[in-house]
Amino acid sequence: MKAKLAVFAVGLLSAAVPMLAHHSFSAEFDNTKKVVLKGSVTKVDWLNPHIWIYLDVKDEAGKVASWQCEGGAPNSLTRNGWTKNDLKKGDAVTINGTLAKDASNTCNASNVTLPDGRRVLGGSSNPDAPKE
């Protein structure tokens, strides 16, 4: 199921819950550029150093764009009770994130929310986010 698109950049600084990062967030992501993606999960890579969530996002015109969003580290997610099965191909999700500096369809996921409002895979790799 492909959810409708809502892709927009917001000027507000999201209150991310930082988890664990092994390197400088600001080297890769632009904390002034936020994005909200509503789409359908196509794949989840449960690998170090960060998990990756891939999703298809449809814009208002119905055109589908593929996005990839970085999540936390598998070890820390595991310790917080999450598994790679908590998000599956076909799941509709909303991802609040920060855009990559290279202008690709890449984000760092601050939070991942299911349609019923439940958050999954809590936390992001964003220690440079504004104080949560």
Partner: protein
């Protein structure tokens, strides 16, 4: 690549804010063994809050454990506060904090706070002029220049999965397992599955090439283990924010196990090329009930493969 525009775009007016070292490591679950962790974790994780530490795991109580020879035993799984910015808690060697740093101009002091508003309601006075945690370390000219010009966008060694080095690994949010026998101590860092092995029987340093983690030797002063590390290769940074050091760095750690569940950890920085005076930080480690896991930084480092992170180049 072309800049992206979006259907509804609100211009971002704010500049990037770096969360500095006031952030403690607050797991989303109790500091616990895995059984308790899973129970607490699912509740806390799916609840989405940071309350996991509340009412959760408590470290064991009891006297400081000792080896058969009477030496304090520091073995254990140690949970440490994530310290991305050591300056936030840094003091001079007498314990006096450094002045706030100007977040907009590295290496300079923060402007003084505005005078109190006489018309302000009680409790709503202006904030102090110090930003959010960053403090002005006592740089030499070389150190200040290095700090001002540091940009991980030009080469991020940790993002490229190169060795973090000793201080960065201690500052890491990932757990540390310490193993100790009579003559040696080993730091087993979950961060990238690195280790650092060193003698603690008072022997002198080796004289070898400079390395990422340096050459450490330890000795006991009463119940405090003092570890001195020298001979760094100068290719690392002290913390995530990138505070500099040179190959003249000497780190002096002091481990004091105050009771079964806690260690007071002092780290002193001596680097006459980078800092005009020594400085230190003090933090508390808590004994957890878990074990370190494998962590292969290299297995899917997309950011590096896809060019969003650049590996640094070192000239010999």
């Amino acid at each position: 690549m072309k800049a992206r525009t979006y259907g509804s775009f609100l211009a971002a007016a704010a500049t990037a804010v770096i969360v500095t070292g006031a952030l403690l490591f607050v797991p989303l679950k109790p500091l616990a063994g895995q059984d308790a962790a899973k129970g607490g974790a699912k509740g806390a994780g799916k609840g989405g809050g940071k309350g996991g530490a509340k009412g959760g795991y408590q470290p064991p109580t009891g006297p400081t454990p000792r080896k058969a020879d009477g030496k304090v035993d520091f073995s254990g799984y140690w949970v440490r506060p994530y310290t991305p910015d050591m300056s936030a808690s840094a003091t001079d060697m007498d314990g006096k904090p450094f002045p706030p740093e100007n977040a907009a101009a590295r290496g300079t002091a923060a402007p003084p706070p505005p005078p109190p508003d006489p018309n302000a309601a009680p409790g709503r006075g202006g904030r102090g002029g110090g930003g959010r945690g960053g403090r002005l370390l006592p740089y030499t000219a070389w150190g200040a220049n290095n700090w001002k010009n540091y940009d991980p966008g030009n080469g991020d060694y940790t993002g490229a999965c190169l060795p973090f080095g000793l201080m960065r690994s201690i500052n890491s949010p990932d757990p540390l397992q310490v193993m100790q026998d009579g003559a040696f101590m080993a730091y087993l860092f979950e961060q990238n599955t690195w280790f650092h092995l060193f003698p603690i029987d008072g022997r002198p340093h080796n004289k070898g090439i400079g390395t990422w983690f340096g050459d450490s030797v330890g000795h006991f002063e009463g119940d405090t283990l003092v570890i001195e590390t020298v001979n760094f290769n100068g290719k690392t940074r002290l913390d995530t924010n990138g505070h500099p050091h040179s190959d003249q760095l000497t780190l002096t750690e002091k481990w004091t196990r105050t009771d079964m569940g806690h260690v007071t950890y002092e780290m002193a920085v001596h680097d006459p090329k980078t800092y005009s005076q020594d400085w230190k930080t003090l933090r508390t480690f808590t004994l957890g009930n878990d074990h370190i896991m494998e962590y292969s930084c290299e297995e899917n480092n997309k950011a590096l493969y896809e060019g969003r992170i650049k590996a640094p180049k070192y000239d010999e």
